[in-house]
């Protein structure tokens, strides 16, 4: 039986919770896969090596820097899950600021806090076999990833825009029909175009799509009433650095 491990670094637990949220599939998955290491769900700590490690969270402390290398050593396949692990997460906003000043805002004795200047994705430190995007990840995509790695197939996780899913779902485009700013055209699909389905513009929580043309979209978003500050913020929330310089407003 293949052995699965779930690891957590700096994160909200939401992505690993997604596995427990597969209520209909959890027990059958557990019948197919030995969930050997998953602290959030079990006090059994099966020793490595593992066939598949799911890693949540970004690397923000010196200890974690060492721990992720350990995880890589004991894992045949390593898949990062979520915006924290694939892009540094919302906590990567520290990258744009002075982390000591950040610590001083929150803690009276920032000197007690051991932290790195930047919140970095796992791929910045060790080779990663697949990155599953989203803040949080999509449940269906998580099951697909586990299935694909076990079956030795290429995961069906398209890198095209949210717009493709949006149209497949039959949403009227909120950008064209209501002038609501939407990052769908530059954001990778995976959520099923959730926000537009709720009459809200996509805010990019799955990170950039395969060939984002933010410059072209920004012209449109400005016309829809977003100013440069807003543009700067909207790209730098849950995937702070990955939309890249093209997101510079």
């Amino acid at each position: 039986m293949s052995r699965l491990a779930v690891w957590k670094f700096a994160s909200c637990d939401g992505c690993q919770l997604t596995l427990l949220d597969c209520e209909d599939e959890l027990l059958s998955v557990a019948a197919q896969v030995d969930i050997a290491y998953f602290l959030e769900a079990s006090s059994d700590r099966g020793a490595g090596p593992y066939d598949l490690s799911l890693v949540e969270g970004s690397i923000t402390t010196p200890d974690d820097l060492e721990r992720i290398k350990h995880v890589r050593r004991v894992s045949k396949h390593l898949v990062t899950i979520g915006a924290c692990a694939t892009a540094g997460g919302v906590q990567a906003l520290r990258d744009l600021a002075d982390v000591r000043e950040f610590a001083a805002v929150v803690y009276a004795r920032p000197d007690y806090i051991r932290t790195l200047d930047r919140s970095t994705p796992v791929s910045a430190h060790v080779p990663v076999d697949f990155e599953l995007r989203g803040c949080p990840i999509d449940r269906g995509q998580l099951l697909e990833i586990i299935g694909a790695f076990l079956a030795g197939r290429r995961p069906v996780v398209p890198a095209h825009s949210v717009c493709v899913e949006c149209k497949a779902r039959g949403n009227p485009c909120v950008l064209a029909a209501h002038g609501t700013p939407c990052l769908g055209p530059v954001t990778q699909a995976g959520c099923g175009a959730l926000c537009p389905a709720f009459n809200r513009g996509c805010f990019g929580c799955f990170g950039p799509m395969e060939s984002p043309n933010a410059a072209a979209l920004n012209a449109r978003l400005r016309a829809a009433g977003m100013d440069d500050d807003e543009l700067g913020r909207v790209y730098r929330t849950f995937n702070v650095t990955t939309f890249g310089s093209s997101s510079d407003a």
Partner: protein, 427 residues
Amino acid sequence: MTHKTIRVGGLTRVEGEGALLVRAHDGRITDLQLRIYEPPRFFEALLRGRAFTEPPDITARICGICPVAYQMSACQALESICGVTVEGTLRDLRLLLYYGEWIESHALHIYLLHAPDFLGYPGGVAMAADHRPLVERGLALKKAGNELVAAIGGRAIHPINVRLGGFYRAPVDLTPIAERLRHALDAALATVEWVSGFDFPDVEHDYRFLALQHPAEYAILSGDVAVSDGTFFPVTEWPYHVVEEQVPHSTALHARLDGLPGYLTGPLARYALNAPQLSPLALRAAADAGLGRVCRNPFRSIVVRAVEIVHACEEALRLIDRYTPPDQPALPVTARPGVGHGASEAPRGALYHRYRIDDVGLIAEADIVPPTAQNQARIEADLHALLQPRLDLPVPELTELCERAIRNHDPCISCSAHFLDLHLHHD
């Protein structure tokens, strides 16, 4: 010699990362530290300079287990600055969303994290090998909660449909979810019966409870702050009463209430302060379970959680029954400078937010006090009281007991925006 050390490294079946270290000398505990090594994520700092509309989405990311709690406390704090109060159907929708999270979070804790302690399994999945129908019932209950959250919020984790003033889109028809909730209500009642039959260690602590209180309902979405010693104050006065301080061993801050450490927030507190306001079925279930008027045994918090699921299901059904879609999915909210406070009852206890908005609509200051930070000192006190008379037990047994005692409080370590491994040293 009589030095003894207990270490529990990497607490399991809690959300987030923590450890416990206990040192004892000559049969006396000399040091007890619940350590939270969840890496600090500096939410309060990174919120500064963001638009006043953003905290509901950003603070949701503090915790994937109870994002709705963050969204609700944030919305209310910010709305109060802008002079907006969300009432009527929109408030009902917020409550529904919140009940969904309660059902989901409590079911997760009871079935997958806590019950395995009583039945002797390492986790819910392992427990399913012998008790499959039970675990399936728990998962179905959890799913009902998640579906309620998704029906209103768009998805179970980090809902996307919440905004200041209400929602981006109001659901048209909630009757399909009602069907599921009726089954969930039965499952919740069965859960109370099941967990009330567990074998509980005979432990009681003299807790000082803190919970929100609302004149018209078992407080969850909003209320004033009530303390079991009779103190009562509006949320706006929170900063005068609750002061957070930093302890070296943890990235979580410890909170003191009116100068004293170690108060408790969460299900036991809510039950102690507000039980009469529980829904009829929940009240009856509590009575049948023999909870009494006040429950001071932390191990029995699992029963209170189950009762709260009953309440959440019953109330949610009532709200769905009277639901008709609102004319507008949200009230307009325009930024204005000022300071605002918001608090709500996360599944783990009171969650307080305070924001200051500057004159261009950006966040100038943010302060977040999550339940686990408030409870940390009290959990340490629980452990102290529990361990002191039992120090002679073998370390593996002690370790297990400690883990259980911690899990009683369902500490959500990710939540410690600013927040927890057992290391027990008998030196």
